[in-house]
């Protein structure tokens, strides 16, 4: 039997499959479709200090092999998450990673402070890459100096919990952003967040999303994600979590081949709500296809011309 465990950034995961923020709710929505304890980890819906209603509707649109979203970090706030959701999650068995959104550097620090005292929170993922909010999010994520500052602030309040910085692909040089996160003390980076996109309707002559623009995700963006992960893996020493269009165990292994320590599965959770569990079930078969008997052997073994 192939050992699927992965260890990086102080985390020990049963397998490299983590569900991505915003696509798996608080995990509990999916408990009927699979045993949450089998997941490598769950990154919960982006949390802010105060509850947020998010953007106006419509805020999702299906596109060929993908989707656009402009949810705008609707969430019940960090207190409600800690009170109502976290105690119901199997945090002793599965890494629960809190995705954090804030609109200023001090607010990121405050949020990290609140989350880092919680035993049930395994790590913090810093969202400096949401394209759907006017302040914070991508505004931080496009400036390496800001990324470094936010990372330092979160790290200062993280009480030793691993800090993962989630990077935006909507930049000229994503490796420079990853470097900034590493310089700021990040324990890992995760990438990519969504690509800024748009859909319009020629009949109504209006944008499909009320927010006009939104983040593109799904299989359509996998080649971009692979390119970004490749560039970042060659640049930084900290572990990289690959994200972007992963729908199968083969897709997951592609990112690991580039050097990713683990991966996150996002839009695939909408293909069918048990898809992340199916990917885990399928990993051993895909490993045979990759002619590898361990993730460690496969990881970063890309043969470049």
């Amino acid at each position: 039997m192939i050992d699927l465990r992965v260890e990086f950034a102080g985390l020990v995961l049963k397998n490299p499959i983590i569900t991505a923020s915003g696509t798996f709710g608080f995990g509990l929505e999916f408990a009927a479709f699979g045993d949450l304890k089998r997941l490598g980890g769950i990154v919960v819906k982006g949390l802010s200090l105060k509850p947020r209603e998010g953007n106006p509707m419509p805020r999702v649109a299906e596109t060929p092999c993908g989707m656009l979203n402009a949810i705008g970090i609707q969430n019940p706030g960090v207190e409600a998450f800690l009170r109502d959701k976290l105690p119901l999650l199997p945090w002793r068995e599965t890494a629960i990673i809190a995705n954090m959104y804030a609109s200023s550097v001090p607010e990121f620090g405050e949020l990290a402070q609140v989350l880092s005292v919680e035993e049930g929170v395994a790590a913090l993922e810093v969202n400096v890459s949401c394209p759907n909010v006017s302040f914070g999010g991508a505004a931080f994520g496009q400036d390496p100096a800001q990324i470094r500052k936010v990372t330092e602030e979160v790290k200062k309040h993280a009480k030793g919990k691993p800090v993962i910085v989630k990077l935006s692909p909507n930049v000229t040089d994503i490796a420079a952003c990853a470097q900034a996160a590493q310089d700021g003390g990040a324990d890992a980076v995760s990438l990519i967040n969504t690509l800024l996109g748009m859909a319009v309707d020629i009949r109504t002559r209006r944008p499909t999303l009320a927010n006009v623009v939104g983040g593109l995700s799904g299989p359509a963006i996998k080649p971009v994600a692979l390119r970004c992960v490749h560039q970042v893996c060659r640049k930084v020493l900290i572990p990289v979590i690959g994200i972007g269009g992963i729908v199968s165990a083969e897709d997951a292994l592609e990112f690991i081949l580039l050097g990713a320590a683990a991966v996150q599965v996002g839009t695939a959770n909408f293909l069918r709500p048990d898809q992340s569990f199916r990917i885990i079930d399928d990993l051993p078969r895909a490993m045979i296809k990759a002619r590898s008997d361990s993730l460690g052997e496969l990881r970063g073994s890309l043969k470049l011309p």
């Binding site: 915003g22 696509t23 798996f24 709710g25 929505e29 999916f30 009927a32 479709f33 819906k45 209603e53 998010g54 509707m57 419509p58 805020r59 999702v60 649109a61 299906e62 060929p64 092999c65 993908g66 989707m67 979203n69 949810i71 609707q74 799904g218 299989p219 729908v247 839009t267 695939a268 959770n269 909408f270 293909l271 069918r272 709500p273 048990d274």
Partner: protein, 260 residues
């Protein structure tokens, strides 16, 4: 109670398409193998995607459950886009991925005079509602439709309960149709009104229900990615102006508790 049990039992299943098509149509009754559902509440829905869709269409499509029997589950589908046009072209025995029953259902109190207001494809959930209701003699179906009546399962439903249908040939017919809906609702002031149909239709029902203080439930339709409350793409505002997911908190809402 039944709802809670359903929610826990909901699983993703792969089932066969049992029907065949006589000829291509924009209105189809899609009958699938029963995915092992023992119970559902009329008003609940399921997410469907054909296995052959591959990755091009990443989302399932939500459809109200029209009826369920031991062997099969039936949905009423109007072709409006990329997903529905593919579903209406399924070949016999083709595999469909289904998760459900999802959401809540309509109230079905025994012995309560209940008006079923259906607009177009909104007739779908009332088929199973009529078949499973403890006292169908208390039910009255009012059906407003645009396409010809034989595109809908109206006649088979009219055999079981008191029913009337009115066709909208053009928007000129709307004032009269709205007046008839309101008059019909006035007759159920002490009972229950259930409505399913296009948003303008639901707004008419909601406005009159609130004005006359008539107990009413509205079934909403929204674009959905997940159907299970996670993507937050199908929200509407509740009575207090807070976002609620139509998939997991609805699709049926008391008329006073939702902004449409």
């Amino acid at each position: 109670m039944m709802l809670e049990r359903n929610c826990r039992e909901v699983k993703v299943r792969e089932v066969r398409f049992l029907g065949t098509w006589d000829e291509p149509s924009d209105f189809v009754e899609l009958t699938l193998e029963n995915p092992g559902w023992e119970a559902y509440l009329p008003g609940q829905f399921a997410m469907l995607r054909a296995k052959h869709w591959g990755l091009e269409l990443p989302w399932g499509r939500p459809f109200s459950i029209s009826r369920v029997d031991a062997e099969s589950v039936t949905f009423l589908i109007q072709v409006v886009g990329r997903g529905t046009s593919r579903l209406a072209r399924l070949r016999q025995d083709e595999v469909v991925i289904i998760w459900g029953p999802l959401g809540n259902g309509f109230s079905a109190p025994a012995g309560t005079p209940t008006l079923l207001l259906a607009g177009g494809m909104g007739i779908a959930p009332f088929r199973g509602y009529i078949e499973s209701h403890p006292s169908p003699e208390f039910l009255h179906l009012f059906f407003a439709h645009r396409a010809a009546l034989d595109f809908y399962p109206y006649l088979v439903m009219a055999e079981k309960v008191r029913a009337e249908a009115v066709q909208e040939h053009s928007t000129d017919d709307l004032p009269e149709i709205i007046a008839r809906i309101e008059t019909a609702m006035d007759g159920y002031a002490g009972g229950l009104v259930l409505a399913c149909g296009p948003t303008p239709f639901l707004r008419t029902v909601q406005a009159h229900a609130l004005k006359k203080n008539i107990r009413a439930e509205l079934s909403l339709e929204k674009t959905m990615a997940c159907g299970v409350g996670a993507c937050l793409g199908c929200v509407c505002k509740d009575g207090q102006g807070r976002n609620v997911q139509v998939c997991s908190r609805g699709p049926v809402f008391p008329a006073a508790d939702v902004q449409i």
